[in-house]
Symmetry: D2
Amino acid sequence: MIMVMSPGVTEKEIEEVEKQLKGFGWSVHRSRGEKSFILRVSGEYGDDVGTAIRSIPYIDKVINVSHPFELASRAYQPEKTVFEVGGVEIGGRKVVVIAGPCAVEGRGSYLLTAEAVKRGGADVLRGGAYKPRSSPYSFQGLQEEGLKILAEARSMTGLPVVTEVLDRRSVEIVAAYADILQVGSRNMQNFVLLKELGQVGKPVLIKRGLSATIEEWLMAAEYILSEGNEKVILCERGIRTFETYTRNTLDLSAVPIARELSHLPVFVDPSHGTGRWRCVSPMCMAAIAAGADGLLVEVHSSPKEALCDGPQSLLPGKFSQMMDSLKKVAEIIGRNL
Amino acid sequence: MIMVMSPGVTEKEIEEVEKQLKGFGWSVHRSRGEKSFILRVSGEYGDDVGTAIRSIPYIDKVINVSHPFELASRAYQPEKTVFEVGGVEIGGRKVVVIAGPCAVEGRGSYLLTAEAVKRGGADVLRGGAYKPRSSPYSFQGLQEEGLKILAEARSMTGLPVVTEVLDRRSVEIVAAYADILQVGSRNMQNFVLLKELGQVGKPVLIKRGLSATIEEWLMAAEYILSEGNEKVILCERGIRTFETYTRNTLDLSAVPIARELSHLPVFVDPSHGTGRWRCVSPMCMAAIAAGADGLLVEVHSSPKEALCDGPQSLLPGKFSQMMDSLKKVAEIIGRNL
Amino acid sequence: MIMVMSPGVTEKEIEEVEKQLKGFGWSVHRSRGEKSFILRVSGEYGDDVGTAIRSIPYIDKVINVSHPFELASRAYQPEKTVFEVGGVEIGGRKVVVIAGPCAVEGRGSYLLTAEAVKRGGADVLRGGAYKPRSSPYSFQGLQEEGLKILAEARSMTGLPVVTEVLDRRSVEIVAAYADILQVGSRNMQNFVLLKELGQVGKPVLIKRGLSATIEEWLMAAEYILSEGNEKVILCERGIRTFETYTRNTLDLSAVPIARELSHLPVFVDPSHGTGRWRCVSPMCMAAIAAGADGLLVEVHSSPKEALCDGPQSLLPGKFSQMMDSLKKVAEIIGRNL
Amino acid sequence: MIMVMSPGVTEKEIEEVEKQLKGFGWSVHRSRGEKSFILRVSGEYGDDVGTAIRSIPYIDKVINVSHPFELASRAYQPEKTVFEVGGVEIGGRKVVVIAGPCAVEGRGSYLLTAEAVKRGGADVLRGGAYKPRSSPYSFQGLQEEGLKILAEARSMTGLPVVTEVLDRRSVEIVAAYADILQVGSRNMQNFVLLKELGQVGKPVLIKRGLSATIEEWLMAAEYILSEGNEKVILCERGIRTFETYTRNTLDLSAVPIARELSHLPVFVDPSHGTGRWRCVSPMCMAAIAAGADGLLVEVHSSPKEALCDGPQSLLPGKFSQMMDSLKKVAEIIGRNL
């Protein structure tokens, strides 16, 4: 931790600060530059100690120079994390494609879509049974009924399924049905939930929060890792910016950076990340070209029942077509799909 | 809901879209302008239907023209919500000041601070027993021991206490000790927790999320209201922007806007909102001048034990001084403190 | 400048980096911490040297620890800058109110408004003659004709006038008519314009850019100061964030911070900062309570001609009323208005 | 334009608003929904009329439903803009690569780099002669001397050159030397400069502003087009967000969107967009996969003289390697490079 002293600080003031810092059991090292005076501090401290110390009047800035995550870092584990779920290798040479509708809306339509995305080449099925909705009056998902439909789709297709878990209490039931548990972006810093998931024997896919920095995203993964669960997948899904044309701004540069900082597999969700179906295919291509280990794609199949259907959504036909192009991009960068 | 059709859309395409929309039981009304063609749609739909419909190719934009919240709106209840907690009237003529340290770090120091802020004129005590920390390795709060200290401080000072609740499971125990339950900004869209708090017979103070719009913040309140709990306090505490000099950007314009849109009391937390103690006093003054119904302020008292202490933080002395100035601002706008 | 080395960097790599840095004539000082290794670098370097150096593979982060501005800093000049323009003292005890319509739309209406805001207690008149418009098809201002109307309003009221200058070429003509030259937020980093304004013998009011940090804003002022013009006014006018309910997010915490970092007078423009007339009055109150040295307020007077008129805008009547309240807030903090 | 009336608006109030709107020569059409009442307004109005009207008390929101740009739109010109500069076709089947150092720092080093990027397969040379710097004390570029070096590099390599123009006054001299004139992100809304460039007979590459929406970026292009210059290139270079790990957040979804909304060629600058050399290559791959018509890449060649040199930057060797991979991605999407 580096503390930049205020301009014009006196020797007496520096000593006063040093004394306090040492009082916490920290070691302090001085460094005088041409235009500024800094203290370098080492010792045990939490992540928001900076805020507390910022209130010391003679300190102008507090800068953390070391990354706060450990188990998630490449320094801790240089080689990539690779694990297998339901016959699918995650984090390996193969780019993994997770596909399906946003929510499980009904048995018939879901099974149709599941069958279709399997034919299209998907590796894992997705579908929400518990839906986090910003309005209390909106459809909150089919809940356990949805989980049963997911399990049926898995039996039918042989593909593992991923679905969202909303809180600590439902972890057990979701874990009983799903192969991968998803943490939604709104829950990325629900630390109680993260700890619970650290004790589950199933992989966890953790979406980046709407306004989470890459470091905070890796710290969320660290919560899960620190409880003993090593099967964590990071998923970039767009951040909140001033741009309103897209629902979020998909931050693809987070892919090479997260892969450099961490050994965990990094996925991308262009459907939620852009909110525009015309962007999905180009951004899937781009995500793989940028090095993503996997994709989450929304696909709908049953024109008669679903809300976003017919020629207008990513239909299985378009999905298959896209998969052909994605395969070629994967090959160029030495991977397969 | 208004749907703006793509430029150059044909009559046939419009009909196709209309047919689909009507298929959901919605009524559709056409409107052709000089440069654009819009459809106005009425009916029952959830909050993210827009996303689904955005995928229809002939639709360019989907705009919600009505606010999504109802119980929280001034249209539903024109007069301000006023309620009483531990002898303190919230939402009334008096500007309510909640003060205390960020976390309960120990019995002695907490009781000292509590006594001091009471003398300074605070109405409610604050202090975290369960701390949401971005690192799993940081101090997570004294938990139930902290709650007991809070209860002791209440007995001693006669002031009600507010403390954060992190998840559904701990609602019961926190509600057993605290007078007001706080939802932190990271949990603003933890809908499971919000619903649980809607069934508790105690007031809830809900902090605005780091990247939550004012509408989303009011929707979070709506979750609590819709479960039957009418005692909700909104608290602005800074949003995440590109500016790094302050920890967050305190959005004071949210005060007049939330007060216009909603009947709920609106508080401001300048300590977390700026992360700089030198900003706290000016922003407390500004918050009251802008019409805030209350303040949350961090105050520390025990120089020997606490991390941020001595002359360097908002000490009780400075707090008392500030209270004098705040009183005068409150009077100017026809309130008291 | 501090350079944080990549985790696991070797002695040989550090030496390689040091050699390069010394090659630029810089002095380098090593510091090894528990979890990280840093280099402290001193010497002459520009503001974006960081970017260049970030490309050295063994360097993880480059952090500037000293503020990049000098003439604008409190270290350079501890006492506040105070100057006089047209009989009005800027930066002194008095909070200065600049009022008038956004644009000069016609002689009659402008003179009416000018007369009215004078009666209301304004100190300086505002009005745009050259308008920066995001569409080339929008009204671009009355230009020189507008400047002449401003000059007439000054003669009539005795109040000095401020108006925007769009580019280097028009500096001369605007300076011939106006008392204060305004740099709009879109031009805050138009460095060619800033340099030109540094050579003009008139005060310059510089609005903070839509996405400018406080440091960049002060650097823009530094451009003007460095050319010899010491009469610079900083004006906060809202930054761009994800919130769309207000046109911008007015960052009032920038007031105490800019006043702490710099000796220059700090003004606030709540009209552009919020884009909602109902917010103007509360945010004017808040700005003064936060310590602003002045305000920019939009006021319209002629219901028959102007676009935003009648009872619906900040009419002279409301403006006068507001001024009464503002006076009281100013007095509380030891100022007058 | 759609105006959403405030909840509870009365018939009398609606009539009052209608009367005012009609007073501006606009036609007004009413539409009553279940939860809201809207007015649809048609007529001639500028881009910020919304702000003015937002001040009418009975109006809650003003929404523009038509895009403000015309000449830049696909509706105006469905087929893509393709033009030729110095033998290079821009906007056609070929993905165009512009490469070179950020600034022209000296004759020898620039010529070396120019030669090297040519060998690597670049189509156009880049290099700044006039540099916009946030500090007045930083190196401001070699100016005309730099332009002469660029011209010499063109003679030597046969490649056209692009360089930045900072203000209206220097347009003439830059246009005398360069083949393509670049508008930097800080100048994207320097409307005086844009108009001037609309009258120049040379192509203009316009970078997206740090906090510009896609619509504002296209409006900036509209300024140039509206003056008669049809050769405009759009260039995405990262937007400013809360994330600090990258210098900016490269918004690659802007590529498919700008290509859908407009016929103009869309380029991407991953070097400035990320500020990290390790991201450049993955993001170049991603940009082409997303459909970009061209790239701007920073490449340095002369280890002895340049600031960012040796093995640590995108050296010609790495550049050539990357070009091989880019070629393969281009081919997959039916283009060449």
